[in-house]
Symmetry: C2
Subunit: 121 residues, 2 copies
DNA sequence: CAGGATCCTATCCGATACTG
DNA sequence: CAGTATCGGATAGGATCCTG
């Protein structure tokens, strides 16, 4: 901070809106950064996955929370859902364009943290 | 996904570790993406702030959650805390180097979401 | 396989009151 | 100003059982 962050009043105003309780962006961020949403979005970043694949890749998640989280992300337009009417049924999830954008940020966040925590590895 | 994400087995293995329940990186991500942690880190990204400035800039946060969140972030090494022994006392918070890295990712995430939600503004 | 429904517990979190 | 302490309600989330 020493240098002093120079921002215009306009930028400050825009930023301030975001912190308002009923700001739609804030709500979306809260969804995206929810306990399990983060990991679903990161998981789907590298591959489309089926329900059980997600459950197995995200250690510790319950089926209830996985389906609940997925439903929320689909509603938010971050994740798509494709049902194959086979027997047994197959349901695949993947990221929409928006979801990919968001997922990249989250993966970047994870990478930065991982790098810090394991300097040598 | 259309292009197909090519990752090596090594990369896949490394990524997999992260999803393990007791992975330290995962715990850190959970802290960072906590309900209020996100907004504290983003707020401090542009300026060091005092307690009441944070409380006022993050609409809807209670004093309890603010101090609790700050304590956690300080413990994690993301935020520093400076006490001026004046009367009345002044306490200032700011981002450590690590906190700045993380904050940048979060700000980037917020920007992407904001841009999506207001295509024209 | 992919979930929905139910029950129940842990915790989050806000409101309020109090302290240095 | 910058917190802490306590209480109680809301909600997240796990376990289990059940279904198409």
């Amino acid at each position: 901070m020493a240098g002093g962050a120079q921002i215009t009043q306009d930028e400050a105003d825009r930023r301030y809106e975001v912190f308002h309780t009923d700001c739609p962006a804030r709500e979306m961020v809260d969804h995206v950064t929810s306990r399990w949403g983060v990991w679903v979005l990161i998981s789907l970043g590298s591959n489309d996955l089926r329900f059980f694949e997600l459950r197995e890749s995200i250690r510790g998640i319950s089926e209830k929370m996985l389906s609940q989280t997925l439903r929320g992300l689909v509603d938010d337009g971050l994740v798509w859902r494709r049902v194959e009417p086979t027997n047994p049924p197959q349901v695949t999830y993947g990221l929409t364009e928006f979801g990919q954008e968001v997922g990249e940020s989250l993966t970047d966040l994870l990478d930065r943290i991982t790098r810090r925590l394991k300097p040598v590895s």
